[in-house]
Symmetry: C2
Subunit: 346 residues, 2 copies
C-alpha cells in the first residue's frame, strides 16, 4: 500500500478520511447503498423478458460480482448536489447496462474464455447470444434514459456509446502493431474506458441541475479516474494474480493487445528483445515460456512501475478536478476511490 | 405480377395511381428524392471517423445497394403532414443506421458469407469489426435522435432497438426447433423486422406534430408492411433466385432457421417427410440433394403460396391503416409500396 499512501500526500489532496484510509471504496459503497438497492431492482426488472435467454445471459454477467463502480459515480455525484428525484437511479442503471453490453461484445471480439473468474457468457450461450443480449441491454439503457426526460443526459450518454465503440475499433486496428505510439494507446483507453467513467460522473450533476462548471468538474474527475483505472488494469494483466483479478493474467499478451507495459518494455528493449516481442505480439507465435519471458522483460525495464506512475498522474488530475467543490461526504468518498483504483495494482 | 394486381382490387384499396402500377416503389422514390439526398449526406458525414476502419466497414454495407425503404417511410410520413423542418432527415438516417447495425450483427450471428450479393463485412474485416462498427452506428443513431430534441421519437426508436434485439434472441432460441409454433414465428418477425418498420413510419407524424390517431395509423401501416415484407423474404429464401435477392437461396435451410414455409411444409408432411426435416433442420445433417428435396416438399404442400397469402393479409391491413387519411401523393406512394413489397415474391 506504499503507493496508495503516497497518493494521499500529494499536493491538492484533501484531508484524508479515516474510513477511506482503511477501505478506499467502503465510504462510497456505504453512501450510495440505499440508492444502489434501487439500481439493482431496476436492473433486475429491466433484464426481464419473456425470452428466457435474455435474463439468463444478462444476469450471468451482472450478478458476477462486478463492483458497479460506474453507477456508483452517478449516484454519488447526484447526491453531492442533494438531488431529490428518481432520475439518477435510472441513469445509473443505464450506465451499468452500457458497461455490461460492452463486456458482452468485448468477450466476443477478444475471444475471451473467462470474465471475472467465471466462464464468459459466450462460452455458455455462444457468441450469438452475447452479441444480441448486449444489443438488448443497450436498447433498454436508452429507454431508461428517455424516461428521465433529460435530453442533456441522453446527449452525454449517446455520445459516450459512440466514442466507446470508436475506441474499441481503434484498439482492434492497433492490435498486434508494436509501432503503436503511446499517444494512440492513450486515445484508445480514453475512448474505450474513460469516456463512460466521464459520462457516468457527469450525468449526476446534470440531472441534479448543477452549473456548467460543476458538470465539467465531475466530467474531468470521471475522465481522469477512468484513465487511471484502465492503466492499472493493463498493469495487472502483466502483474496481478489471476485469483485477485478474476481474469487470466497474460490475456493481453496472448491476444497481442498493445498496452502501456508492452509499449514501454518494447521501446526500452535491445534488438533481441524487440525481436522477441515482434514474434509473440505481431507474429502471434507464442511458445512455452514466452509469457514468463515477457514478465521478465517488463520487470527488467520497470514497465509496470512506469504504467502505475502514469495512473498516479491521472489520479492526481481526478483529485484536482473535485478539489474546488464544497466538501461533502460524497465528494470525499469519490476522492477516496481514486486511491482505491490505483492501489489495485499492488 | 398477377398477385400484385389482385391486391390492388381488394376492398378498402384506394384508386390505383398510374405511376405506381408501373413501378410500385418509383413514386415513393421520386417523392422523397430531395430529402433522401440529405439523408445520404448525413449518413456519409456520420460514418466519418478518424478510425479508418469505421467508414470502410459502414460504407461497404450502406453503399451496397439497399433500397433504403425504412428511411423512405420516415421521410414520406413526415411529408404527408407537410413537415417543414429538418428533424425527419436525422430520424431517417437514424433508422438506416439502426438497420445497418442490425445487419452487421446478424451476419455475425448467422455466420453469413454474403449480404446483398457482396461478401459480408465480417468476411472482409472480421467478426470483431462487424460487432464494433454496428455498436458505433447505434451510438451515432442515438446521437442524431437526441439532436432532433424529440423525446417522443427517442422513446419510439429506443423501444424498437430493444424489441429488435429481443426478437433476434427469440429467433436464436427457436432455431433448429421444428416444434416452434406459427404464433412464435409471427412474434419473432414482428419484433425483429416489423418493429423497425413501425417505428420508422411513426416518427414521421410524431416529428411533424400529428395527432395520436394519425401516429397510430402510420405505426400500424409500418407494422403490417414489415410483417408482409419479412414473410416475403422468408418465402424468397426457398423460392427466389440468388441473383435477384442478392443473397444465397437456401441460407435459412442451411442455418436451421424456422420460417413459415418450413413450419407449413413440416406440419403438412407425412412421417417420412417430418423425419427428413428433423434430420436437416434439427440435426443439421445436410447431404447432397437435401436442399432440392426441401424445395420439392415446400412446393408439394403449397408452403410458398401459403406464406405469400399471409403476406397479402398483412398487406391489406397496412393498406387499411392509411385508408382513412386524406389523400396525398405520399399516402398513395406508401400504399403502392405494399404491393411492391409483396410482388418481390414472384
Amino acid at each position: 500500500m506504499a503507493s496508495f499512501s503516497a497518493v494521499q500526500t500529494q499536493p491538492n489532496s484533501p484531508s484524508p478520511r479515516g474510513t477511506s484510509r482503511a477501505g478506499g471504496i467502503d465510504a462510497l459503497v456505504g453512501l450510495v447503498a440505499a440508492d444502489m438497492e434501487r439500481v439493482n431492482a431496476t436492473i433486475l426488472s429491466r433484464t426481464g423478458s419473456d425470452v428466457q435467454m435474455i435474463p439468463e445471459v444478462a444476469n450471468h454477467l451482472i450478478s458476477s460480482g462486478g463492483k458497479r463502480l460506474r453507477p456508483m459515480l452517478t449516484l454519488a455525484a447526484a447526491a453531492h448536489f442533494g438531488y431529490p428525484g428518481e432520475g439518477h437511479v435510472k441513469l445509473a442503471a443505464s450506465v451499468e447496462f452500457m458497461h455490461t453490453a460492452t463486456l458482452l461484445h468485448d468477450d466476443v471480439v477478444d475471444e475471451s474464455d473467462l470474465r471475472r473468474g467465471k466462464p464468459a457468457a459466450r462460452m455458455v450461450w455462444g457468441n450469438q447470444a452475447s452479441v444480441l443480449v448486449g444489443d438488448f441491454l443497450l436498447g433498454q439503457a436508452f429507454k431508461m434514459m428517455v424516461e428521465t426526460g433529460s435530453l442533456e443526459c441522453l446527449a452525454i450518454l449517446s455520445n459516450a456509446a459512440a466514442v466507446i465503440a470508436e475506441g474499441e475499433v481503434m484498439q482492434l486496428a492497433a492490435a498486434k502493431d508494436l509501432d503503436t505510439e503511446e499517444s494512440t494507446y492513450l486515445q484508445v483507453i480514453e475512448a474505450k474506458t474513460a469516456a463512460l467513467f466521464a459520462a457516468a460522473a457527469e450525468v449526476g450533476p446534470v440531472i441534479a441541475g448543477a452549473s456548467a462548471a460543476e458538470r465539467e468538474a465531475f466530467r474531468l474527475y470521471g475522465l481522469n479516474l477512468g484513465l487511471a483505472f484502465q492503466l492499472v488494469d493493463d498493469a495487472l494483466d502483466y502483474g496481478g494474480s489471476s485469483g485477485a483479478l478474476g481474469k487470466n493474467v497474460g490475456d493481453d499478451f496472448r491476444e497481442g493487445k498493445i498496452t502501456l507495459p508492452v509499449i514501454h518494455a518494447f521501446s526500452a528493449g535491445n534488438d533481441e528483445e524487440r525481436a522477441f516481442w515482434r514474434r509473440c505480439i505481431e507474429g502471434g507465435e507464442i511458445r512455452d515460456g514466452d509469457l514468463e519471458r515477457a514478465f521478465g522483460l517488463i520487470e527488467k525495464h520497470g514497465a509496470i512501475a512506469a504504467t502505475v506512475a502514469r495512473a498516479h498522474h491521472y489520479g492526481d488530475a481526478a483529485r484536482e478536478a473535485l478539489a474546488g467543490l464544497p466538501q461533502t461526504p460524497q465528494r470525499d468518498a469519490l476522492i477516496d476511490v481514486i486511491g482505491f483504483s490505483i492501489a489495485r495494482a499492488h
